[in-house]
């Protein structure tokens, strides 16, 4: 058992459902646990936190046993140095924001130079909220406080259980930058449970896909999701989308756009807080947001153009659309266009074309 990983070899049996994992998760960066509702994501997180005992098997963190059913050993959650962010935040209603943060701060046993009370308060912009009580906070503010509170335990491992699922779109957009900045700013390894592929793409380095309590895939986010190609989105069902990986060249150029290099091409997308030069940026590109041109376009409102080669055509049964599978300098891409357009442009595999991507589709 390696020193820098979380070794999971365990089953959790419930009536009608069994979680079965045999994985080693590296204790660095952000690992997403992804899957539809009922796939066992939360059970896995509760197993790691210690709220759930394994029926058989064990959980080891960096060589230290946390649970071992064979040895009847179970370290309770309060002794695991794990930070757990609940879906609903679970702030203590009788304490102010300050009281909630102090509860975690005073009980943290580890000393981490990277995490200080003032540092966390300023990183999450909590100064104006300190005297407020949880019931007077908005949903987004509550999750921000909860996240800050979790960090103040100075955890060795941060577990985030669908922290955005209870929030509306606007609130999500408010919290995402804070989550995104976590690994760079505080350097705490994170396991992020989600059923939203956009969040995974934006936040995680690795992904572990669960279905019916079993691991379906585990690996690099871009490779794993692209390998799944057609049915990657747990919620939207089959919808071809790919993940493009690029490097941020300019986090904030004119007109509120950031410039990202992908291969030899440059894409611009709306700048967002937390983005910095040289960061690796992942973009999820939906086939419906990609159009095809035979020539390099001029005089078009679409800013993002990638040279590509057609690899295959996938007509969609019962619909007037065709999914065009493309290869852009080694990166996969899908475009969903009408059958009429395919006929008119006489698209065939091997043909060199230009893929046009709408800027707005990056967000």
């Amino acid at each position: 058992m390696s020193d820098d990983q979380l070794a999971l070899l365990a089953t959790c049996a419930f009536p009608g459902f069994t979680l079965e994992v045999n994985e080693a998760l590296p204790l660095e960066g952000c690992t997403a646990v992804f899957g539809p509702s009922g796939s066992g994501k939360s059970t896995l997180l509760r197993l790691i936190a210690g709220f759930q005992k394994p029926t058989t098997g064990h959980v080891y963190c960096a060589g230290t046993p946390w649970s071992d059913a064979g040895r009847r050993l179970h370290i309770p959650p309060d002794k695991r140095e794990v930070g757990y962010l609940f879906q609903d935040g679970r702030l203590f209603p009788h304490l102010s924001v300050m009281g909630n943060l102090a509860f975690a701060d005073t009980r943290s046993r580890a000393t981490s130079g990277a995490i200080t009370f003032d540092g966390v308060v300023s990183a999450f912009d909590l100064k104006p909220l300190l005297d407020r009580h949880p019931e007077s906070l908005s949903g987004g503010e509550r999750q921000r406080v909860a996240l800050a509170r979790t960090l103040l335990t100075r955890p060795r491992l941060l577990l985030l259980d669908e922290p955005l699922s209870a929030l509306d779109r606007a609130r999500k957009r408010e919290i995402l930058p804070y989550l995104e900045a976590l690994p760079h700013r505080f350097g705490v390894p994170t396991i992020y449970v989600s059923h939203a592929v956009e969040e995974v793409v934006r936040l995680a380095d690795r992904i572990l896909i669960l279905a019916d309590g079993k691991t379906v895939a585990h690996g690099d986010v871009t490779e794993t999701l692209n390998a799944f190609g057609y049915d990657v989105d747990a919620e939207a069902g089959t919808r071809p989308a790919v993940i493009l990986e690029g490097r941020c060249v300019d986090p904030y150029c004119a007109n509120g756009l950031a410039v990202i290099s992908v291969g030899s091409a440059r894409l611009s997308l709306p700048a967002r807080p937390g983005l910095a030069a040289k960061y690796t940026v992942r973009m999820r590109i939906d086939a419906r947001d990609v159009a095809i041109s035979l020539t390099e376009p001029v005089g078009l409102s679409i800013r993002n153009v990638l040279p590509a080669t057609i690899r295959a055509l996938h007509p969609i049964p019962g619909q007037p659309f065709v999914d065009i599978e493309l290869d852009s300098e080694g990166a996969p891409l899908f475009a969903r266009i009408t059958q009429d357009a395919v006929a008119e442009l006489s698209l065939t595999p091997g043909q060199r074309v230009f893929a046009l991507i709408k800027t707005a589709s990056f967000d």
Partner: protein, 225 residues
């Protein structure tokens, strides 16, 4: 008011105070266990705790009297340990009152603890709080209303008890003669004046206590939300 009646009042107040303090100490862990356990013994324990609610006080008092007499193991052990009997003594009265008022302390606490749910306790554990720490700093302050209700009901119920006191304690001035016994005695001897005085005092005290409790509950509720 006569001296014996003043002494009965003092005795009753002291008895109720003592019983309330001991009951809160006993009922808190019991109510916590009942609110968290999935044990099959839970309904049995709940039924036993609730028994004094339905049992006629004389029945309860009768069994306790039998249990307390030195001919019985419990009573005998008590005599050996302390040199005095549990029957017709103040100590016996305290023990009997604790059993008699137990449901009035356990039930409000259990309800309050159940309302907290597991979510906040899990959150406390995930923030590194040991179980005791989580109880005192999260569960207890969030259950303050339950503690207040339990204390008031235990106190008031102990003041008002009659049947059990009569069976176990009898009517020994300064030892087991409580206010309700004194009132009964005054009525028996047609001394309505004295009965009126004591009754009015109990009425006034009970009403004042309840008024303070409800007033406090409202103000705190507005503050805590």
């Amino acid at each position: 008011m006569s001296l014996p009646d003043a002494s009965a009042l003092a005795l009753t107040a002291w008895l109720a105070f003592l019983v309330t303090v001991i009951l809160l100490l006993l009922a808190t862990p019991l109510a916590w266990w009942l609110s968290r356990t999935q044990s099959r013994a839970k309904p049995v324990v709940e039924a036993i705790v609730a028994l004094p609610l339905v049992l006629p006080p004389t029945v309860l008092g009768f069994y306790l009297l039998i249990l307390f007499t030195p001919e019985n193991p419990l009573g005998a052990v008590w005599v050996q340990l302390t040199g005095s009997t549990l029957t017709f003594s103040f100590t016996g009265l305290v023990v009997a009152s604790i059993i008699y008022s137990l449901p009035f302390a356990v039930q409000p606490l259990q309800t309050a603890f159940e309302r907290i749910g597991t979510g906040l306790m899990e959150a406390a554990a995930s923030l590194g709080a040991r179980p005791w720490d989580a109880f005192f700093n999260i569960a207890a302050p969030l259950s303050w209303r339950g503690f207040l209700t339990a204390a008031v009901l235990s106190f008031a119920h102990t003041i008002g008890e009659f049947g059990v006191v009569l069976m176990v304690g009898g009517n020994i001035p300064g030892e087991t003669r409580t206010v309700s016994i004194a009132i009964y005695e005054h009525v028996e001897t047609m001394d309505y004046g004295e009965a009126h005085t004591l009754s009015a005092i109990l009425l006034f005290v009970s009403f004042s206590v309840l008024l303070v409790v409800y007033g406090l509950g409202r103000r705190r509720a507005l503050h805590v939300g």
